[in-house]
Subunit: 470 residues, 3 copies
């Protein structure tokens, strides 16, 4: 039984020479501030600075990585405190949920969740033995005790985590009141928003038509017309920028883009707006809107993030019972080369535009994304994403992108999480994996050690700041 949950050599290659190089690289970047340019924490936390709820409410019920694994092995979401839309009663006792989780903790062996969780237990709550059914109660008590203290409130943790800047994600209909509250509070923590307009771009989004009505009200634009609709976007983007936004984010099903004439686009919008659009029209509209967003980015400087390829809410029954985002988003095969061509023909050569591409389809790393980012000035590669935000996933990302795109067409790390306590763990894993990769390059005499130090610093800190204009 180890005396520590997180070994100092975690994730470093076993070969002593390489490990020694990795350690040396990591030592110099381990303590760098966290730049978190893309994530989903709740700005309310920073605004109100209230204590977090009990251990289960903080660490289990909101983490789909956690409950999807338990669900796959027969544990019902109700029994983990995940709320049902239909009002079915769910477990509310945090301790019971925690014990249930502890009894299944072996399921996470070999997964990143295990690493993040152990990291949180140790670094945040000072726990140094693995969670088991036997010690679940004691660990629960200890964590609950911590959470009640002021030093564990959101702002204190933000500072303790050494977060230089964090971006949240809001939709165009959000009034950003929590961001306003943060700004007005005098607290120095830098929390910015990001513009995520899926709810007014995806015609299949819940309440799409009403969302557009509301967008019109908020902006005073006529969202019944194409030009008014575009103008409304411009106004909201400007508003988001006034709360620090430097990027927009787009979760389309595919990477398809289009470049319609203004007339065609207006006519398409008309059909979509009046609910006369078929599947083909809906996809075309999404495609056109990526291009419109890119054009606006050229004007206002927001970085455009494209996150395609997730089949959201794959299980109809789970969507009906528990709602969106319950661990049933499944990646699909994703094309970029033909999908992005209309966009790239229009703005791909622009040197002042930054488009960051993500993928859940690793086959595109070496085949499409690295060759594209290795030549188009507007393109950069986002880090290994979601299911690939993991040691093996990150390693494959570097192995499959570096040779064609280099390091400098990538943008550092995104934690992409709503699990606030896990943010340092996630950045730590990324820094370790990148240092391990660089150490191998050094050991194989492919780069020099001093270069590796420079690159490690870029990957851990500088690239994210530069790419996201932070």
């Amino acid at each position: 039984m180890p005396k520590t949950l997180i070994h100092k050599d975690l994730l470093f290659p076993a070969e002593p020479g390489v490990r020694s190089i990795a350690r040396g690289l990591y030592e110099r970047v381990a303590g760098l501030p966290i730049v978190s340019p893309h994530g989903h924490t709740d700005p309310r936390w920073y605004a109100l600075n209230e204590p977090f709820p009990d251990p289960a409410g903080l660490l289990i019920a909101p983490d789909h990585y956690v409950y999807r694994m338990l669900f796959s092995q027969g544990v019902r979401l109700e029994d983990l405190g995940v709320p049902c839309l239909d009002g079915t009663p769910v477990e509310t006792d945090g301790r019971t949920i925690w014990r249930r989780f502890a009894g299944h903790y072996h399921l996470f062996r070999g997964t990143p969740t295990r690493l993040w969780f152990d990291y949180v237990l140790q670094s945040l709550f000072g726990i140094d033995e693995p969670l088991t059914a036997a010690n679940a109660n004691a660990q629960y008590d200890r964590i609950a005790d911590c959470l009640a203290r002021d030093g564990f409130r959101p702002r204190a943790l933000f500072e303790r985590f050494n977060i230089e800047v964090i971006a949240t994600t809001e939709g165009p209909l959000d009034d950003l009141k929590w961001h306003a509250r943060i700004r007005d509070s005098g607290w120095k923590g830098r929390v910015i928003t990001a513009y995520r307009p899926d709810s007014v771009i995806d015609p299949d989004f819940d309440g799409f038509a009403k969302n557009l009505d509301k967008l019109g009200e908020i902006t005073g634009c006529d969202t019944g017309t194409w030009n008014g609709y575009l103008e409304a976007h411009r106004k909201r983007r400007a508003y988001f920028k006034s709360f620090g936004a430097t990027s927009s984010d787009h979760g389309h099903l595919t990477a398809e883009t289009a470049n319609l004439s203004a007339t065609e686009a207006a006519s398409l919008f008309d059909r979509v707006r009046n609910m006369r659009a078929g599947e083909k029209d809906k996809r075309l509209f999404s495609a056109q809107m990526l291009t419109e967003m890119a054009k606006m980015s050229l004007d206002d400087g927001l970085v455009l993030q494209i996150h395609p390829g997730s089949w959201r809410n794959h299980s109809a029954a789970m969507l009906a019972k528990f709602g969106r985002d319950k661990g049933f988003d499944i990646p699909t095969s994703t094309d970029y080369v033909s999908a992005l061509k209309p966009l790239l023909d229009l703005v791909g050569l622009e040197r002042d535009l930054t488009i960051i591409l993500f993928t859940l389809d690793e086959t595109s790393y070496a085949r499409e994304l690295a060759p594209l980012a290795g030549v188009y000035p507007a393109l950069k590669l986002g880090p290994a994403w979601w299911f690939h935000d993991s040691p093996e996933g990150m390693r494959r990302f570097r192995e499959m992108t570096t040779e064609s795109a280099g390091f400098y067409n990538t943008v550092g790390f995104n934690d992409d999480t709503r699990a606030f306590p896990s943010i340092p763990a996630r950045h730590d894993v990324a820094r370790r994996v990148d240092c391990a990769f660089l150490a191998r390059l050094v050991a194989e005499h492919r780069i020099n050690e001093n270069e590796a130090h420079e690159v490690a610093h870029e990957l851990a800190y500088t690239l994210a700041k530069r790419a996201y204009r932070l």
Copy 2:
């Protein structure tokens, strides 16, 4: 020249620390009984317990891994004793075939066949020098001599191999007489069958219509109607269960499933049954039948195995001359996320159902299969299959599935072979590769060594028993 064909550290990582961990893990699982829940050995062997034929007839002519490689380099199948459908005379002298094989043994460098073959030579026949043209005669003599002894008959080998249970594969039209003979013989070896109904489900299967007639005769059901046809399946499944079957197995071209209404399904069956089905109907029928099988599994508890993605008998000329299964089955790109949705919407959340997914398209491991199995309770992942039943293939399987699905949504190892003597070799390779993978996780401090021991035991033995309900 080494003194042994199979080194004790075979397949373990070279780094001494990791190797030492791998050895320690392997030591405790190397001797575990073999659970072989999916394979294609001939039940007649165990029933009659007759001596195996000569070395070439046992080790070369029936092994498509062997003869496809030789064929690719210009050796004719006739010259290896593979029978021709048209009666073309083929080589019948085992020694000549063996010598021909020995002269090409270098072709297998770097392939799993080489490892399996060496393992068999050494562990079964006590041979400790590599096969060459020079020693081919002597090795042939030694093997032939062994095969003549009682200790090399099927049942003796079964016991020597420490097989706890082995499944064979039979079609619904099989009377399972060899299984009956085994059962009635008083021999204690556990040989069970598995239900493989391709011949009465795939409308393109040779003699499909006649097969359905025969299915009707055997079961007393009216296989001219949809309901009668389904009832016939139910009866045969029950019959197979009475011979120990715990699973069904389905070798469809794709993973497509469907969920038609009873009326639509009956009408589709009608077209298929009366040979009025076009390509689209045929595919839809196969798709619907996967769903029907899953529904029956819910009732009778058989584990459903889906083995899609192989373009069978790719060469028309070879199919015409030598028949099916002559090494010309080629994998194709395979989608699971949309293909399985109808089935998953119907039964994917069932906790008492087990559906085991296999693939020949490794791109689906991390992108589709691990995310699916990591959330749907009914889904488990079959091991690296066929061309990927190899050290690199197994390593990639673990590297690409563990982080999203964990170890516990996988089902241990399947040898999937008709090459009986190679079974211990195949399980040994799998155990070694899994221990090597676990050793790396331990060395990189991602799991503890005691956890690795537990997982190694699960992968080598327990998971297969549990998943296949053995």
Copy 3:
């Protein structure tokens, strides 16, 4: 700061035992002659044997690997001396270009370009410190000084590089006058051509119709008819063979093949010839022509190379401004199993035919290409190509093809380059990566060390000669 740019252990695994094996393997193949069966150097160089231009004109402006990376980071091609079609003035001062490149040299960290470049600097120009902005001038002077010497003229380098044979690539309309000049010069260097008929096979090629007219003039065949057109190919192939050609090369968008009747083919040709072909016809024509080329290969013995899957000149604007082949060729997903079936059904079992398959879609290595090449006698696998001609790319190629196709269904290394000075570097990288792979197999006791020596020799030298009939 290291004393050498290329470490003697470059690319060898760090673990001392494996490294030692790799060194031992490499030592025996490092000095083997270079066989370069597929490349794009300019035969004019060897014919005229004039000095190469200044350092930038030799090493930067013609190398799309180099300038695409700089372009991706905002450097304009004009500023690197890449000529514009529209006559826009471009930088002509080699020293300025060289300094610009030096200032961005860090971008190449982790890329093969860096390895090749360092190798050239060191082995050819005796430079032993990394290129930086600070030493750019000095290095420029040194290289310029070298290039002025006789020992750096093409033929001297050819001999110094120990090139046993090199193939260039020419189109059917080329008169091969430079090859004639080489042949007539009395120089002993073996420079052969290869038949690359894209300009008269791809209906979308610039000037296709005129190209066919010209093909008719050159051959005296009526290229207005299908039979005349085929005969013209036969004549040109024979002409190319008289200049040493042993292969043809085909850069189709896909691997699609067809096997039309003579009547259908003639009618299709008619539509294509008279510019009445739609997209579908054009693709079918390309598909049919691969089959026609294979049939001609059966007669004349030329090895058929298929290089599919590159979306050429992806950026319309860059194509318009700078022309073809400016680093904007992007790989796409590529199917082989169904695409090649018509061709394989016709000639796939021929033992006297050699078809070499390349891919830019690594997903096809283990799924399609290795299983195909591991059974069809006519098929061999070309080496890791283009973006995958890199250490990680080559490693993945071996890891994903060897277990199903073995080593002997691969064809050694192709440098595939027009960057003449980099040829030894590229072969050296390939030899090192293959030795590293083999060393791992030895260390894991998967092959013996003496076998590894044999295989290393095959991969570095013999396989290319045999496969390309050199």
